[in-house]
Symmetry: C2
């Protein structure tokens, strides 16, 4: 029975994202087939709406301060297989099919997480 604000947030079936002071929620994209974490980015309400209405991942670019249709220039469009939201509705998880060259990172790597932390240093490992 959903009654308290927390209950409604956690057990309810209404989409009520809790955007932070900057109007953003975190968004993690994984590869729909391999499960690899491809990137962690941000969405504002417009980006989430566009993602839902188009079926392609839209984020909010904090560096450019604008809506970012992933792949619009790079070709690395992400077709959304499934979109989930977490318990307190301040993060979403997108399972995506990367298009174009299959990459997600502007560095050319398949995933943005191409370095492992080992012994306080970084080791490149695809």
């Amino acid at each position: 029975m959903a009654s308290s604000p927390n209950d409604i947030l956690e057990n309810g079936l209404a989409l009520t994202p809790r955007y932070d002071a900057a109007g953003l929620i975190a968004a993690v994209a994984t590869h729909a087939e391999t499960g690899e974490v491809l990137m962690l980015a941000w969405m504002n309400a417009q980006a989430l709406d566009k993602t839902m209405s188009t079926g392609e991942a839209h984020y909010f670019s904090r560096s450019r301060n604008e809506l970012w249709h992933k792949g619009a220039t790079s070709g690395q469009v992400q077709v959304v297989e499934e979109l989930r939201i977490d318990c307190d509705q301040d993060a979403v998880w997108l399972k995506v099919w990367p298009q174009g060259d299959g990459g997600a990172c502007h560095t050319g790597q398949r995933s943005c997480f191409y370095r492992v932390i080992e012994g306080g240093k970084l080791v490149k490992r695809p």
Copy 2:
């Protein structure tokens, strides 16, 4: 050849996390075996240090404003299989082995992402 600040950040092998104004970076934990995204949380420098030195996930609780050794009270300790950092070093990815009851979410669900967004509403789907 790493030369510009961006090159060093993205191609270098030095761990230089870029904490936000609140001193935090995003941390996504996935199940080491299934790849399921379990939770999205936050780390400050101390949490990252503790995670590296103990091999168990530590986060920073924004609601309690304190270091959070995941599982210290719930038993849902997360043993870290691998720790990665992203291109611009403002997010980490932990592959973890959940201990205790195998859950990660305070609601009792295995993952915090137990609801799918469909048609603008939420559907519970483990």
